[in-house]
Amino acid sequence: MTLEALVDLLVVLMPLMYGCLVLLYGLSFFKGTQWANTAKTPVLFATVSIHLLHILVRTAAFDHPPVTTIFEIMTTLAFCIAVAYAYIELKTKASNTGFFILLLAFVFQTTSSLYIKDLLDIAPIMRSRLLGLHVSSALLGYTAISLSAVYGILYLLLYHEIKSSRFGLIYNRLPNLEMLEKMSHKAEVFGFIMLTIAIAVGLIWLPMAFENFSYWDPKLVGTLMIWILYAMALTAKRTLGWQGKKTVILSVIAFALVVLSMTVINLYMSGFHSFQ
């Protein structure tokens, strides 16, 4: 089998694996199905391993890591999310949040698989060392804030159930409010630091790399706005003593803007920082 054929196979296989994973975690969460419960963790590790293979094979076949287009970024992001979750599941033994997090990985991977192209020629600019740092810190940052948002949403759902004393699946299966808030917060702090690095590296490197660089590039402005929002949320928590609901709502809103920025700005607005 040639490398390209293997890549094509893996592109189709990855969303199927994630779909399977989401199904297993969903069955285990919503129905308490026993076999799904025992099968889910092994399948998670199988998926992560195959995904790693996918990324390595892609890198070898096209001579660059899959970080140069938005759809390449998405599969790498899905991989990072799955790895981060696998780590959380091993560490905390709380496998009950898997469905929600892996759902996100599934969405990213499926979008990626639908639109990703076999790309051999990339701009020489995409081979810079600084780009590596810029992209990897951005990826880690986005992974962390994705997790932060998922835990944030779960926090809000559980908060609502406890407040209104209407207890459903969320109440029965999720860990406690404090833990969800802590996980959301930790991921947010980590994500914020990573995004700060990504932006700093970007601001140093971009003016050197692009002739048409502009500080008013939509992506730049969008990212900066998001950064400011996260900075506000974290400051509010630290100095104003905001806790619980309000801070969580802020970080969920910030994440919604991130997704918006990633899709709308990348696909529909032109600027020097577009991937194609």
Binding site: Y171, L177, G241, W242, G244
Partner: protein, 409 residues
């Protein structure tokens, strides 16, 4: 009955009535399980014995007892261990109490082959019910429901502090459960300071008594508040709570209001990160959990039936062979007696043939019932039926019983 008393009773019971026996004693049940020495001991003897033991005097009469035998007794024991016979459905403690009961009998060598097997099956039922059904899940008392909620709000109760305002059984019980979860600090406030001090001393836990006038102040530093004050008006207002939340940097505050009428204005629940639960909402949690547990009953019963059948499959196989043996002996006895009585009527040279023919007749008569019995016992599904057949057979043929299971309670 205390453990010592139980030991005493088991010892006496074993001496007088039973080959093997076991006594389960909890706060609301005393049950004696045994396998009689010479058939069934008389119910009335047993009952009288127990009444005298417990010096129940005239308060307890024979009418307070129920007696179940054989399959019903095993089924009852399985229901008990499954927690479906308890006052609170799905009671968790009963499994340990049953274990203890078997333990006592084992120590006193009151266990034999049948009770040992019964013990295995019983504990197996207890385990299966707890892992395969959710009959023990969800709090079914007000105080546990409150603790369960607390552990859905806070990650680690051992880092949280509790304030109890007022007195009252449910309030104290809730506090005790929380202390059981090793909360970091306990504060108690009461309009009569001495009462608070007495309670704190009684609890034997690290804590402090605070002045009743300072309770709103105390809300700043605690995480869980239990209010149980007899007061016609609200003790805590939403404005108090709002103010306090700012001072405690919005750290979540869980208020358990078990006062009747309510001690905390329900509007306090509208403040962010404050969770107010009153008696009614806690009761509705308990009711829902009880319903959920009840919905598990069919599953539990299926497990019990399955295990009863398995137990009697084993038990029957124990009984079939001796019964067949005894039946054969009894028929053989009849044959021999009749042959002896009449042997002189035959010519000497035919006598050997008579012996042979009569033996053959007995064997042929026995063949069909024996096959049916053995087959039934092996099949298990006909467990009860086999037992019933054996009983009938013994009755019809007048075989004396001394190996029959007999369980009273």
């Amino acid at each position: 009955m205390s453990s010592d008393e139980a030991r005493e009773v088991v010892k006496r019971m074993q001496e007088q009535y039973f080959d093997e026996c076991m006594l389960i004693s909890t706060c609301n049940r005393t049950e004696l399980y045994g396998i009689g020495k010479h058939g069934n001991p008389l119910d009335s003897d047993l009952k009288q014995f127990l009444i005298e033991r417990k010096s129940g005097g005239t308060a307890v009469t024979a009418d307070h007892f129920t007696t179940v035998v054989s399959e019903e007794a095993v089924r009852h024991l399985f229901h008990v261990v499954a927690g479906v016979d308890s006052m609170v459905i799905g009671d968790i403690q009963i499994l340990n109490q049953v274990k203890e009961a078997f333990q006592i009998s084992t120590e006193l060598s009151a266990m034999g082959p049948i009770m040992n097997r019964l013990m295995q099956s019983t504990l197996h039922v207890g385990k299966r019910v707890r892992t395969e059904t959710s009959i023990c899940e969800g709090a079914v008392s007000i105080s546990y429901a409150a603790v369960e909620l607390a552990s859905k709000i806070f990650a680690d109760l051992s880092k949280k502090s509790v304030l109890l305002i007022g007195a009252g059984d449910t309030g104290e019980l809730t506090l005790k459960h929380l202390i059981g979860k090793s909360v970091a600090d306990v504060k108690i406030a009461n309009r009569t300071r001495a009462k608070a001090e007495a309670l704190l001393a009684n609890l034997q836990v690290k804590g402090s008594v605070i002045d009743y006038e300072n309770i709103v102040d105390a809300l700043r530093t605690v995480d869980i508040v239990i209010t149980s004050v007899n007061s016609p008006s609200y003790v805590v207002s939403p404005v108090d709570v709002q103010k306090v939340m700012k001072q405690r940097s919005n750290n979540p505050l869980f208020i358990i209001d078990i006062g009747v009428p309510r001690n905390v204005n329900p509007a306090a629940n509208k403040v962010d990160n404050v969770f107010v639960y009153d008696l009614d909402s806690l009761k509705s949690i308990v009711d829902k959990n009880v319903d959920k547990r009840k919905a598990e009953l069919p599953g539990v019963n299926a497990i019990v039936e399955h295990e009863v059948e398995a137990f009697f499959h084993w038990h029957n196989s124990l009984q079939v062979n001796p019964t067949i043996q005894e039946l054969r002996e009894s028929l053989e006895l009849i044959r021999r007696q009749e042959v002896e009585k009449n042997i002189n009527r035959f010519k000497p040279e035919d006598r050997e043939l008579v012996e042979l023919v009569t033996k053959r007749i007995v064997n042929k008569i026995l063949h069909q019932p024996m096959t049916t019995l053995k087959h039934g016992a092996e099949n298990g599904s006909a467990g009860t039926e086999t037992l019933w057949r054996l009983k009938t057979l013994r009755e019809l043929f007048g075989i004396t019983t001394d190996e029959k299971s007999n369980d009273d309670h």
